[in-house]
Every structure is written in structure tokens, then in C-alpha cells.
Symmetry: C2
Subunit: 306 residues, 2 copies
């Protein structure tokens, strides 16, 4: 039940209405690994960092079963750095600084030990790099999940469309689904995206939950109404980690089990936003997660006599 | 199980990205009655119209059990008229024309036959008129539901706060909940609104569903993802009608049953937006409604092993 995760491991500087941090650990692959490692301990990371990335961060994740053979360390390079400021609604943010650093020359080489991976999570990255990883796998994984963003639709749409043909699940937010499909209705957008390749389309709507579309079927996962969203950074990657972690644990890729996986992902994301960075994800226990999932069960529970 | 509904009966002119109508029947009490009359046939309407309001419209609703003794007809007056244009997202609209006409001097007098009403739906109107109706009832109804809007928070906040102290359920959209409470988080907003009076707070989020808060409890009702929202006019009133119609039918005002009532309201609203005005509501059958409610059951159905 091995899971290979491709994404960034990086530094973030964040400003939210509730506070400010100068330089904390971030990156899509980091969040996916913290989240997924609650459900599977056979995670294989693919990323690139500079010599400035703390060994202690590797050690903490390694203790949870994460393998870093696929992470290139550029000793005299600097890790990817992103800085952003969130608005009051926490759904919109301004990017203040983007320093690609070592990410500019990221050309991942999959270790032989990563062959035969069953689950592949392609975190948000330049589509050509995502494609290169798919092409290096001699056997197609049981499930390939792709995360992407509006930026790649603007600068690399052809590459993105080529990757879309190869994946099973696309994970985007509502604005991105509309941009990719040219359709305002999310039902129509999902139908068009199915035609581009992915059999499953997950549309994330932040505080409004998430939708899962498979051909002709739809599932609506709520988001837990929270007193406070402290820092939304990494919530999408944490969602992805819970989603694919649950699938890797259960090895069941049916529509029915994907619905459960989305609830697990939503529960994990609801922890992520409670503190800065991955801090809260590092604290939570199995019991915390189970209690949170129970809250989701109760949140949408109703009975109706027809 | 009588239900008294106070609101407008009016003419609307509408423009949506999908079409345009010049003068159709609208008004909050009209939509509530069309929706609620699927669940109860003891509806007592309180409104005011001009001599221009078609008798045929009264007749159609009377055939479904709606009583109009509480509707004042000003023979030489004109009915309330509203005209609006919707933007592509269908969540925002511009008001083009508002002609109060007879509504300017609306001073409802409850017929003696409306006393002992069990359920009271106060549609969106000037708060002083809502209060006058409450004060005319010699016995407090089993449940009072209030709909209101941002406009009254701007021009009549003190009157609105006085009415809030008298009602059991407040129904507002997310922007209005924030404006009324001064809190961005909907969890905190609901907590503040509870302190203002209503034990139950329903926050409508359009295509993102609705939240029901009772002290310490929360329920998330999804909205059905639709291929097309043709015309959202009246969706909120149709939701209210389904909600209170289900409660009036079942006579159970527990939190558990309110959850079901919100699903019924959401199902009714999902019909309303399929055509202009109340057209779709006039077509649907009991079977259509049951099938739609089943879609809601399936939409949020998941199983998870803990």
C-alpha cells in the first residue's frame, strides 16, 4: 500500500488577521505527508530542498514512516520560499514573495525503490514535472491524483491537458474548475473535465465544503463550521493527504470509498487551519481525528420519512 | 396545524443571463404559499395588493387550501413592483426599480379566524409590520419564524432587534448574519444572534447550502449542485415555505425535525430556480418532491469505519 507524493518542501512567511510568522516549514509535499501519515506509514516523498532545510524536519516525518530517498538536497542551494498575506475572509490572499530557488531546476529522478507504488499524489507543480514522474513509473499506479492551480492554466495549459489525460482524480478549487472548463456551473464544469481525462473530479470550496463528481454521480462533503480559521495555508494539501491516505490505507478506490476519503480529508483540513503552518497537524492524535470525523457524521445527519 | 404567512404579493420584472420577463407574479408570501401548500392545506395569508392583482392567482392558491381573508385589496391602488437584474454568478443582483405602491401603507389587520394559528411565518417586510402581526395574536404561536434582510439592519435596526426578541427562528443569508452580529465567523455570528432572541438560526448560503444552529448544535444542509440556475428569484421564500410547511405538517419543532425541514426547504428551492418566477413550483408533483428529497439524502450519504 505504498504512496508516492510529489510536491514542494519549503519555507513560508505568512500574515493573517490573527498573526504573523516569518519563516516556517511549508510546501505541498510536507502537508500531504503530515496528513497522510496518520493513515499509512509507507510514504515515499519526491521533492527538492536547499541545504537550509532543517534535518529535524526530515527526522520528524521519517519517524512516521516517510521515506526521503526521492528528495534531492542541493547543499549550496536555497529551498523554495513563499510569502503571502490573507484577507479577512481567509479565502483570498496576496502573494508577497515567490522565490523558486532550487525548485527552478527541479528534475525529479524516481529511486528504483519507488517503482511499483500503488498510489501517486501529484502535488501542485509545473505540469511537465508532474508528467515526468508519471513517465518514470514502469507500472501504472492503481490511482493517480493530481492537484494543480490557475497559474498553470495560464502559462502551461497544453502541458496540463496532457497530464490530465493520464490521471484518475483531479483536485481543484471552484474558480479553477470554472477556468479549466470554461463553464460557470460546477456540474457542467465537472462534465467537461471528465472529458479531459479524470474519471473523478473533486472541487474544493473552502469553508463551503467539497464536491466529488464521478460520471453521473455527485457527493457533497460539508466543511465543519469553525469559530476561527487561524491560517488556511496548507489546508488544500492536508485535505489531499487525508484523502489519499485513507485510500492507501483501505486500498479501495470505489466511488463509495472516495466519499469517505473526502470526509477524512475534510477532517484533516479542519485541524490544519487551527494553527500556523503544520503545527496543529503535528499535535493531533488518532483519537482527535476520530472525534473530528464523528463531528462530520453528525453535521450532515438527518432522517426524513417519505 | 394552521400556518399564517405574512409577506408581499407582487409583480416582478427579471433579467437573468438566460432570459427576461417583464411582469410576472412574485412576492415573498406568494412563494411561501406555493411551497408550503405541498405540505399543509391550512394556510392563512396576510398581505396587501392593488386592484391590478389577478383574481386567477388567488384562485390557483385557494384551490390548494390558501385562505385570503387577511389580504387587503386596495381597488384603486397598484401592487408592489420590483425589478432586478442578476449577474452571472446568480448570487448577486442589482435592483433596477422598487415601487412600493400599496405596500407603503400596509397596516395588516388579522382576521379573527387567524387567531390560534400554530405556525407564523413572518416574510421579509419592515420590522414594525412584523411586530404588529405578532402583537395582534392573543395566543403565542407554537413557532415564529422571521425572515429579514440587510436593508432593515441599515434603516430600522432597533425595530428589528425588538422583533428578534419575540421569534424562535431567524432565517438570513451569510452576509446578513455577519452584518447583524458584527462577527465574520458564522459560528460566532450564530452565537451572538442566539443572544438577541432566536433559539434557532438558519444561515442560507445559496449554492453552498444552509446551516442550522441551535445552542451548541449545528447542522449543514447541502444545496443540490445544479446544471443551471435559471432564475433565483423567490428561492429564499420557497425554502422558507418548505421549511415551515414541513414543520406545520409534522407539528414537531425539535432540532432533529428542523434538520429534515431544512432539507425539504432546500429541495423546494432547487425546483424554484429551474424556471422563471413560481412557474416550476406550479408544475411539480408530490412524486417530484419525493424524488428530489431522495437526491439530497444520497448527496450527503457516506459510511466511515472508525
Amino acid at each position: 500500500m505504498s504512496l508516492t507524493v510529489i510536491g514542494t518542501m519549503a519555507f513560508d512567511a505568512l500574515e493573517t488577521p490573527f498573526g504573523k510568522v516569518d519563516r516556517i516549514i511549508g510546501g505541498s509535499a510536507t502537508y500531504v505527508a503530515w496528513s497522510a501519515s496518520n493513515f499509512t506509514n509507507a510514504i515515499q516523498q519526491v521533492s527538492i530542498v536547499g541545504g537550509d532545510f532543517p534535518q529535524a524536519e526530515f527526522d520528524k516525518l521519517a519517524a512516521r514512516g516517510v521515506n526521503f530517498d526521492g528528495v534531492e538536497v542541493v547543499k549550496d542551494g536555497k529551498s523554495f520560499f513563499w510569502s503571502g498575506r490573507y484577507h479577512m475572509d481567509m479565502n483570498t490572499r496576496d502573494t508577497l514573495v515567490t522565490e523558486l530557488n532550487v525548485l527552478e531546476h527541479f528534475n525529479p529522478q524516481l529511486p528504483a525503490s519507488y517503482q511499483n507504488t500503488e498510489f501517486l499524489m501529484l502535488g501542485n507543480l509545473v505540469p511537465a514535472v508532474q508528467m515526468s514522474v508519471i513517465n518514470q513509473l514502469q507500472n501504472r499506479p492503481k490511482l493517480i491524483v493530481l492537484d494543480t492551480m490557475n497559474f498553470w492554466m495560464e502559462v502551461a495549459m497544453d502541458d496540463l491537458k496532457a497530464v490530465l489525460k493520464k490521471v484518475d482524480v483531479l483536485m481543484v478549487n471552484d474558480g479553477e474548475a470554472r477556468q479549466l472548463s470554461g463553464e460557470y456551473s460546477l456540474v457542467k464544469a465537472a462534465a467537461k473535465i471528465h472529458e479531459m481525462g479524470p474519471q473523478f473530479v473533486i472541487i474544493k470550496k473552502g469553508e463551503h465544503g467539497a464536491l466529488l463528481f464521478s460520471k453521473g454521480e455527485v457527493f457533497y462533503a460539508p466543511a465543519l463550521p469553525l469559530e476561527e480559521v487561524f491560517d488556511p495555508t496548507g489546508a488544500g494539501d492536508t485535505f489531499a493527504g487525508g484523502f489519499i491516505g485513507h485510500l492507501a490505507k483501505t486500498r479501495d478506490i470505489s466511488f463509495e470509498n472516495m466519499k469517505s476519503a473526502i470526509i477524512v480529508g475534510s477532517a484533516m483540513a479542519s485541524f490544519c487551519v487551527e494553527k500556523f503552518g503544520s503545527e496543529r497537524l503535528q499535535e493531533i492524535t488518532k483519537e482527535d481525528i476520530e472525534n473530528r470525523i464523528r463531528q462530520f457524521v453528525n453535521l450532515v445527519d438527518f432522517k426524513i420519512d417519505l
